[in-house]
């Protein structure tokens, strides 16, 4: 049987162009690297989830009966470190962004494919070191590594974990460098800045933050490791050093890191809302600029983590006021997404369920952030479960909802298969219900005064903690389901057409899965993003 060249061309895609471990491990294709990242971050997510499970189990009862206090300290520390550095920060940029950014730009690849591959190896090197230190006994400082506990008093492997976080930081710097340069130099003809999908704006803003914030964490961790291992004390109070300086440098990175986690999710949500409301995003340029505004303002508010640290109250006041400013661009986004839904042809497929969940949960997370940014209230609820609930609403309710929504939305493009809609809707529902049941009680218990990072608590808090643990169980099922049915769909799912959602965007104009170099011909763009109105007027082709 002979096939024509055109037929062969239409069958070839990035998945079947080559086989074998070598073709994956040495690939320079951004799509394959995205898959490598997908597997790695999912693994770390599951590991981090196990730690969360142990924490919730321990907190079922007021007494510390499941694990020893020092084991509990390691559990919440490793949960934080793995979830933040190894999952939340790389999740959307390195998996979805890596896959979708060149497709959205109409480019053949990212600007530096080798650096892209190197970033995955650097990530894995950091990850393996992290896992190794885990086996060596983990670390008990909390993910914040505050000195002087981390430099002087902790008996755990702080140096190793700090080096692991340092290494992983460079992997995200490499990805960010690639995204910035690619967005500037690799756009298809006619694809001007204001024709870009909002996902690209969000990834660009995220990359700017990564480039300017991560190196500060890197050098801070180097100073920490030097102080711990060589006993040259840069933050050592005995020499006149100041532990609060460590907090300044740490939060200069780690506050913007919150935006590194949430901004890409906001980009995903913009894509989902437009696609499933069949409308151009209301106030496109406001949403685009709000991403950039968050990127800039996010750097000026780090001191709101330090209201009770001994920081000057005048600095605290300034930080508190600036924190209110960040709320504005965030609120602009939520308002514009809601306005987009108005009179839209809304359909409730799985990605849209996640998007709607995101809007609600992020709004709660964001508004409680304003409570915490107010110096007076923060002094009251600082280091309580109120704070824990707040940032889980932003990071889990925001980032992970966005990540899962995006993963479902682009899954047909990534795998060439459709996922089972019933199971996907069920899991979206379980995630939403489980999430709220887990974390809403924590707002209450925190406001009542239960401090974070303790393995035992007064008995009157037990009911709320049991509710939280029950919710975590449902949430766990909700997260495991997609792992199962997405893997299942790769073999048994129905074959996906090029554009299963009838969405607008360059990524939907190429095959599912895309060919090796994304497009057989470089696309030319002559319309704005989310051009659904224009699309509806086009004659339907059978």
């Amino acid at each position: 049987m002979t096939r024509t060249l055109a037929e062969l061309k239409s069958k070839a895609n990035y998945l079947n162009v080559a086989f074998g471990a070598k073709s994956w491990l040495l690939t320079k294709d951004h799509k394959r690297i995205a898959i490598l990242y997908l597997i790695s971050v999912t693994t770390f997510f599951l590991v981090g989830g196990i730690f969360a499970g142990v924490i919730r189990l321990e907190l079922m009862t007021p007494a510390g009966d499941l694990v020893q206090p020092d084991v509990y300290n390691r559990m919440f520390t490793m949960h934080g470190i793995i979830m933040i550095f190894f999952f939340l920060i790389p999740a959307i940029p390195a998996v979805l962004g890596n896959f979708i950014l060149p497709l959205m730009l109409g480019a053949k690849d990212l600007a530096f494919p080798r650096i892209n591959l190197a970033s995955w190896y650097v990530y894995m090197a950091g990850g393996i070191l992290g896992v190794y230190s885990l086996i060596q006994g983990g670390v008990d400082t909390g993910w914040t590594f505050y000195v002087p506990f981390s430099t002087t008093y902790s008996n755990t492997g702080v140096t190793l974990v700090a080096i692991a976080a340092f290494i992983v930081g460079f992997s995200s710097i490499m990805t960010a460098l690639n995204f910035i340069v690619t967005t500037h130099r690799m756009r298809a003809p006619g694809l001007t800045w204001f024709r870009l999908p909002l996902m690209v704006w969000a990834l660009y803003a995220t990359s700017v933050i990564i480039m300017l914030a991560t190196p500060v964490l890197a050098i801070t961790l180097v100073m920490l490791a030097l102080e711990r291992s060589l006993h040259i004390g840069i933050f050592d109070p005995a020499l006149g050093g100041d532990p609060v300086l460590f907090q300044h440098l740490f939060w200069f990175y780690s506050h913007p890191a919150v935006y590194i986690m949430i901004l890409p999710a906001m980009g995903v949500i913009s894509e989902l809302i437009a696609a499933f409301a069949r409308k151009r995003i209301f106030g496109y340029s406001f949403v685009a600029f709000s991403s950039m505004a968050i990127a800039v303002l996010g750097f000026l508010v780090w001191g709101h983590h330090m209201f009770v640290s001994g920081q000057s109250i005048y600095a605290g006041t300034v930080f508190s006021i600036l924190t209110m400013l960040v709320a504005i661009p965030s609120a602009v986004k939520v308002f514009n997404w809601t306005a987009t839904l108005y009179q839209g042809a809304v359909s409730y497929q799985t990605p849209m369920l996640y998007a709607l969940g995101f809007i609600g949960l992020f709004t709660i997370g964001g508004l409680t952030g304003i409570f915490l940014g107010t110096m007076g209230l923060d002094t009251h609820v600082h280091d309580t479960y109120f704070v824990v609930a707040h940032f889980h609403y932003v990071m889990v309710g925001g980032t992970i909802m966005g990540y899962l929504g995006g993963l479902h939305y682009w899954w047909p493009k990534i795998s060439g298969r459709l996922y089972p809609e019933f199971w996907a809707k069920l899991s979206a529902l379980l995630v939403f219900v489980g999430f709220n049941l887990t974390f809403f009680p924590q707002f209450i218990v925190g406001y009542l005064g239960m401090p974070r990072r303790y393995h035992a608590y007064p008995p009157e808090f037990q009911v709320l903690n049991v509710l939280s643990t029950a919710g975590a169980t449902i949430l766990g099922v909700g997260y495991l389901l997609p792992v199962i049915y997405l893997v299942w769909s790769m073999r048994y799912g129905r074959k996906a057409p090029a554009n299963p959602w009838g969405a607008v965007g360059l990524e939907w104009e190429t095959g599912s899965p895309p060919p090796q170099y994304n497009f057989h011909e470089t696309p030319v763009v002559d319309h704005e993003a989310y051009d659904y109105h224009h699309e509806a007027e086009k004659p339907k082709v059978a």
């Binding site: 480019a107 053949k108 690849d109 990212l110 600007a111 530096f112 494919p113 080798r114 650096i115 710097i173 460098l177 910035i180 340069v181 500037h184 130099r185 690799m186 480039m211 300017l212 914030a213 991560t214 190196p215 500060v216 890197a218 050098i219 801070t220 180097v222 100073m223 030097l226 060589l230 006993h231 040259i232 004390g233 840069i234 050592d236 005995a238 020499l239 006149g240 050093g241 100041d242 300086l245 300044h248 440098l249 200069f252 170099y517 470089t522």
Partner: protein, 216 residues
């Protein structure tokens, strides 16, 4: 960094050499911006501790050799000049001279590192290296030790960047004498030059901050 290891040929994902060149230049500048923030953390620590302990920083400064520091500044500035000349030679197709200028840069870079090593050694003998070995007869002994913590962290991180630069230079020199760099393919030399000049700029700030302030 960036596209230094790429082949002369146009890579598959670019449309033109011009695009490829622009892309790698922008990539290197973005990397340099990242480096600014990397050293920025150290400069912040310096600023804060200088404000907190002005007297100790004056004493610490006085223990550094202003002449060695000054000579090293001149050496590094000269190496930046030869690096710039290597870029010029690459852009104008003077193939032999690219190698010569790079060798000159390498020698100057090594002289800098040699003088730095001598200074470090000297500090060790003067018991000015932080740690249990540190000893200074002064009421500000502890705070001066903090100054030297910063001195070694800042100059050490700078020296590490110099060592990486010297390593890369060796590779560039081999390629240059093989005639790999042409006016059409000069951008690897250019973007390496950006890195070298950046490391020079860091020293331009380190010299007055560590050696000069509070001297008079």
């Amino acid at each position: 960094m960036s596209a230094t290891g790429e082949t002369t040929a146009l890579q598959h994902h670019f449309d033109s050499m011009e695009q490829q060149r622009d892309t790698s230049t922008l990539g290197m500048w973005t990397f340099v911006a990242q480096e600014v923030m990397f050293f920025g953390g150290l400069f912040t620590a310096y600023l804060v501790y200088r404000v907190l302990h002005p007297k100790a920083f004056e004493i610490g400064s006085a223990h550094l050799d202003i002449w060695l520091g000054g000579i090293n500044t001149a050496v590094l500035i000269a190496s930046s000049f030869t690096m710039a000349m290597a870029v010029w030679a690459a852009q104008t197709g003077r193939r032999k001279q690219i190698g010569h200028f790079l060798v000159a840069t390498l020698i100057l870079g090594s002289v800098f590192l040699g003088i730095k090593a001598y200074e470090y050694n000297h500090k060790w003998h003067e018991h000015l290296v932080p740690g249990s070995h540190f000893a200074l007869d002064s009421p500000y002994e502890d705070n001066v030790e903090l100054f030297f913590c910063l001195y070694f962290a800042m100059t050490g991180m700078h020296a590490l960047h110099m060592v990486i630069g010297v390593g890369l230079l060796l590779w560039f020199i081999v390629k240059a004498y093989k005639g790999r760099f042409t006016p059409e393919y000069s951008h690897p030399v250019e973007i390496f030059g950006l890195y070298w000049h950046f490391v020079d700029i860091v020293w331009i700030f380190l010299f007055p901050l560590l050696y000069l302030l509070g001297r008079h």
